[in-house]
């Protein structure tokens, strides 16, 4: 049901054209932050205004949209953005990674492998990876232009000198196609290897900072590191308590006031698909069905 008071996907066509031009430029120069005239969206900054604008510019009526927040399809941010596009674009929505043509995400890359033709849209709070070390925008732009990335290494050096290892665990800086250093948005570094040689198009939108950047399909993306402190993917070493998965990214959930905890897949669609296929974790009750996962999530919250 489309609300006819709005143009298709909320934004007017001229704005979408402007955003598409920025996206095309971003695709042409992988990892380069393209400025764009970010619009006011009917949601607060920090809720994915950049991602929503990129999604709106990419959406076609025949698309199927999936929206995730920290891997989950059922959190407030994901639900509200999904409803927003159901209302303003009338597109089909799904929670299955495989069925979606456009996936808007906050803080995760889905566990299921992405395929050619899919678009993954990231919500980005701070697009500039050098920002916390160099506050001047003209200077960071110059550093990108001249490939002066020693400073990024200084951040990793500080991590090791303070913690004994590279303690950056999310928004871990990457080098795109041996040229631009890029902030992959606050995804866990566990997801960093999935950025590289991905068959899907990856688009990044930062609404407040007014930047769009992109990783075209099958682009080489390398996580920065030191020779004697190589990049490590990390992970808990645990298995999902509901579906028993060991190779997915797990959330730690505190279940009572005495520190009892369980680890569950952060990607809810992936977890449910595994349970439908008969996988069981240690905390899955007998006959535990996919629909029970929602109740579990509410308990945790």
């Amino acid at each position: 049901m489309t609300d006819t008071a709005y143009n298709f996907a909320y934004l007017d066509e001229r704005t979408k054209k402007m955003i598409r031009r920025a996206i095309l430029k971003g695709v042409a120069i992988p990892g380069y932050q393209v400025p764009f005239a970010s619009r006011e969206m009917p949601m607060p900054y920090g809720w994915g205004t950049g991602g929503v604008q990129v999604t709106a510019a990419c959406l076609e009526p025949e698309d199927t949209l999936k929206v995730i927040d920290q891997g989950a399809d059922d959190t407030t941010n994901a639900v509200s953005i999904r409803k927003f596009f159901e209302r303003t674009a009338g597109v089909a929505t799904t929670t299955e990674t495989e069925e979606a043509t456009i996936i808007q995400t906050r803080h995760r890359i889905p566990e299921a492998p992405l395929t050619e033709g899919q678009i993954l849209v990231y919500q980005v709070p701070i697009p500039e990876p050098l920002r916390f070390l160099e506050p001047r925008e003209p200077e960071t732009r110059r550093m990108h232009a001249l490939e002066e990335y020693g400073l990024m290494q200084v951040k990793l050096y500080e991590d090791i000198s303070r913690h004994g290892h590279i303690a950056t665990s999310y928004a871990y800086p990457v080098l795109v196609e041996e040229r631009y250093v890029m902030d992959p948005s606050p995804i866990p570094k566990f997801d960093n290897p999935k950025l590289s040689d991905c068959p899907a198009l990856q688009l990044f939108g930062a609404g407040r900072e007014q930047r769009i950047y992109a990783i075209p399909p099958h682009t080489t993306v390398v996580s920065l590191d030191f020779e004697d402190h190589p990049f490590e993917r990390g992970g808990t070493g645990e298995a999902c308590a509901l579906c028993g998965a060991r190779e997915s990214y797990l959330d730690e959930v505190i279940t009572d006031d005495h520190g009892t905890r369980m680890f569950v897949c952060s990607d809810t669609a992936y977890c449910e698909a595994r349970r439908r296929a008969g996988h069981r974790g240690v905390a899955a009750p007998p006959g535990f069905a996919a629909s029970a996962r929602g109740a579990q999530g509410e308990d945790a919250a």
Binding site: V154, Y157, E227, D228
Partner: protein
Amino acid sequence: MSGAALAMAAEDRPLLTVKGLTKRYGARIGCADVSFGLWPGEVLGIVGESGSGKTTLLRCLAGELDADEGRVDYEGAQGLHDVLALSEPERRRLMRTEWALVHQNPRDGLRMGVSAGANVGERLMAVGWRHYGRIRETAADWLGRVEIDPGRIDERPAAFSGGMQQRLQIARNLVTAPRLVLMDEPTGGLDVSVQARLLDLIRGLVRDLGLSAIVVTHDLAVVRLLADRLIVMQGGHVVEQGLTDQVLDDPQAPYTQLLVSSVLRV
């Protein structure tokens, strides 16, 4: 010409040749028609009162200001460079490899938000070092060479005294073994005993590393200790230049005579 003679000829050529360097601020003069040569291993002092154009001159050399006229040739490791005509990336590469700039205020030259080790290591990482252990080892070694306890490698510069900050800045600049160091009032703002130790340290480093340096200062004692040759500036013009002892002991220009005679003797 034989190989040895060629090498001799290279030795004979100045590292830096400045010709007719002029910088105007509108109708006023920053520095006018400054010419000098700097030979390998030589320390050149530039003295003059406040507003005499010595810092303008240094900033023109470092590329922080665009000179209006003149030419600066630098005999680099990869041949002769016309410094003022260098593109931005070339100039910045030169500034982090073969040249170094020591600021008067260490806060301008240091990154105050990161540790001492990272401050020294930054130049190494900027020229492509990617081995944490070796970067740290080199940083610790350099802290020792500028008389900072290597045990304080993980402290931030804010935890250091003014003299230590200045020495840290020097370590940060010298770690990539530059050939030419530009210093702007390196001992300004430090008390006398700290100044003396710092001067001693700089003199030792310059001799050991065979550096060429240009030291801008208003303090005649600094140039007496450090500089081989001296340029005296007044109102943007060079009024006298020559060997340091010659200029200080037998000043010719009236302004230099005034300058030398106004130094307080204790």
